[in-house]
């Protein structure tokens, strides 16, 4: 069988062109590492992951999302459609979605007033967030009742002393 080298090369080229650029640092880099060695990663395509915290702040066609990896939270600048994939953001009552971000890391972003940030190109959801079940802590409840009793006792003693 005769192989059509020309066609194969064209298909290969088109496949590579259509596929998103692979990150220079495909392994996940922690926020501490990014801040500490910011010059090394500046302007490079990196991978970062963590929990979405606070709120998704929409700014026109884009959005700011802050992602905490346990050490620090970093600001991620992403397109609004990409941000729409986020369902839960972390706060007292909720665990936020866990995301993996691939994007350009900026040590001092010229577009955003010198902020250290990441301009996301794509994201992958590693885990869905959830609401945290709040249960009344029985120890706290008991302690507050005991203290209330002690306060009541002091009040009674005050009344006796006055008489």
């Amino acid at each position: 069988m005769k192989i059509n080298y020309k066609l194969t090369l064209i298909i290969l080229f088109l496949t590579l062109a259509a596929y998103p650029k692979a990150p220079v640092f495909p392994q996940v880099i922690s926020s501490s590492e990014l801040i500490k060695n910011a010059k090394e990663y500046d302007g490079k395509l990196i991978t970062y992951s963590g929990e979405v915290i606070g709120e998704v702040m929409l700014r026109g066609d884009f959005a700011w999302v802050n992602i905490n990896d346990g050490d620090n939270a970093l600001g991620i600048w992403m397109s609004a459609p990409l941000a729409k994939e986020i369902k839960f953001t972390g706060n007292y009552k909720t665990r936020g979605d866990k995301l993996e971000i691939v994007g350009i890391f900026n040590r001092a972003c010229l577009e955003h007033g010198g902020d250290l940030d990441i301009h996301a190109q794509r994201l992958r959801k590693l885990g869905e967030g959830r609401e945290i079940n709040q249960r009344l802590n029985p120890d706290k409840k008991n302690l507050s009742l005991i203290l209330f009793g002690a306060l009541f006792l002091i009040w009674i003693l005050t009344l006796f002393k006055r008489r």
Partner: protein, 500 residues
């Protein structure tokens, strides 16, 4: 001969301390209401426990130490210094119960940092902290900024002559109005008016930035309290960087500067005397020191090319400078960036700004502008004395609300407090170095703690040794009270041991 304190002294101190504790307990009603409103069950319980312990202790002291006598100077000073220590312990109770602080010492560290309007933090997982606890963190800054005793004087104490002694003990040696209780109430009125305006400005900006209205106004109120009281706590772990907003940064700069001005100056501005802001020695000194320290920072940052443009250099450099100079501690860079992106010259500029502080009778810490201005005037007077003929009569005066002639006792007082601050900065730096930190980093963190600033280069963290945590707590306490009441309590302890 040193006289041993009598039982009567202890009773008077205990009685007035009890009153202040009850005042503090009353303020815990605010987070309880917040907790109920936001349906946060366990955080509400944390504050119910906190208020119960505080009321119990307060009532106990009032009953055991009941007295009709008024405070003398020594007792007033001791009540103030003890109030701040007791406030730290009681304020830390609900924080510790939340489980976000690794130990009670860590909770005490943050409570003192809040009351003293410092802003250094050891809280864990701040981004998941409840509204209730977050409000308390910022409220204690608001209370501490005005002064714990000022709260008691404003709302819970019906004028007694010992009030002024406590007012002075809390590092407020200027009366705005003839009556100290009226002065305290004026301070609160100013703060409340600005609170409403500041919260509105930040809340609306937050909404434009994409935040939900309730959250935006909650953040607005918290950030206002931390900015106006030059505290520096924030509801999110990234400080002001969380908001990614230039407008937010500009508004917080305005609020920080307002917080760094003398309440007496606010009074005169409110009364229509707008020229005072240009003539006052404190504002003119602040203007000069901002220019000088920013120049140092800008040269430092430009030397190593930390930022890609002049605009970004100005935005980052100026924000950290104003935050440090006013003693706030908000950051728009990460703590570690001070060490990796800023050189020693830029760090020196920030350290200098932190060490100088804002105006007297404001919510800032550190040496303060009036003292710097007086020392500068004294130098000028001495220079004139050298240059002018011997028989020339040299009189130096300055404008601080009114024209004031420079006297030796003013210079002496300014130099003593300045020296005390320098020693305090130095001691903290030595302790930091003892625990293995380089000199510049140790001095940065120590100055930040003692000047009640809150900027951090990363030394303050949960892994920090207990000895360093305690050192910073003492620095924050002594720095906030400006030494006088701290010296008095030390004298009292010496008298208790050595007195006859």
């Amino acid at each position: 001969m040193i006289l041993k304190p009598r039982l009567e002294d202890l009773k008077i101190i205990g009685f007035y301390l009890g009153k202040i504790i009850l005042g503090l307990a009353f303020t815990m009603v605010i987070p309880i209401l917040t907790g109920l409103f936001s349906k946060e069950l366990n955080p509400t319980l944390d504050f119910i426990i906190g208020i119960e312990i505080s009321v119990f202790l307060g009532l106990l002291l009032l009953k055991v130490c009941h007295t009709e006598k008024d405070l003398n100077w020594m007792q007033g000073m001791i009540v103030v210094s003890l109030s701040w220590v007791v406030a730290m312990f009681l304020g830390a109770v609900p924080l510790y119960l939340s489980g976000h602080w690794k130990s009670f010492l860590d909770a005490c560290f943050d409570a003192m940092s809040g009351f003293a309007t410092t802003g250094l933090i050891l809280v864990q997982d701040l981004d998941h902290l409840s509204y209730t606890h977050n409000l308390w963190r910022h409220l204690i800054m608001f209370l501490g900024g005005q002064g714990i005793v000022v709260i008691a004087l404003s709302f819970f104490v019906r004028g007694f002559s010992g009030a002024f002694k406590m007012y002075v003990g809390e590092a407020r040696d200027e009366k705005i109005l003839p009556n100290v209780v009226h002065t305290s109430r004026f301070i609160w009125m100013v703060s409340f008016v600005y609170l409403v305006l500041g919260t509105l400005a930040l809340g609306i900006t937050g909404i434009f930035n994409g935040m939900k209205p309730v959250n935006s106004f909650f953040h607005g109120a918290c950030i206002f309290m931390a900015a106006f009281d030059t505290g520096g706590f924030s509801p999110q772990s990234q400080s002001i960087l969380y908001y990614h907003s230039f407008v937010y940064e500009v508004i917080t700069i305005i609020i920080m500067v307002l917080g760094a001005l003398n309440f007496k100056l606010h009074y005169h501005l409110w009364m229509g005397n707008r020229k005072e802001i240009f003539r006052n020695i404190e504002t003119s000194t602040l203007f000069v020191t901002i220019i000088v320290t920013f120049s140092i920072i800008a040269v430092g940052l430009a030397q190593i090319g930390s930022y890609p443009s002049v605009a970004t250099l100005f935005r980052k450099g100026f924000y950290q400078l104003i935050s440090g100079h006013t003693g706030t501690g908000f950051q728009t860079i990460y703590a570690q960036q001070f060490l990796v992106d800023w050189n020693h010259l830029a760090l020196a500029g920030v350290i200098l700004a932190m060490a100088l502080g804002g105006a007297v009778c404001s919510t800032t810490g550190a040496i303060k502008m009036l003292r710097i201005g007086i020392i500068f005037k004294a130098f000028k007077e001495d220079l004139k004395r050298i240059i002018m003929p011997e028989r020339a009569l040299i009189i130096e005066k300055f404008h601080h609300i009114k024209e004031v002639f420079l006297e030796d006792k003013m210079i002496r007082s300014a130099l003593i407090i300045t020296l005390a601050y320098i020693i305090l900065y130095g001691i903290g730096a030595l302790v930091g170095m003892f625990y293995g930190h380089p000199f510049s980093n140790a001095l940065f963190e120590s100055t930040s703690a003692a000047a009640n600033v809150g900027l951090s280069c990363g030394i303050t963290n949960i892994a920090m040794p207990a000895g360093l945590k305690i050192t910073y707590i003492i620095q924050m306490w002594a720095g906030r009270l400006e030494f006088m009441s701290v010296f008095t309590i030390l004298g009292f302890l010496i008298a208790a041991i050595k007195g006859k």
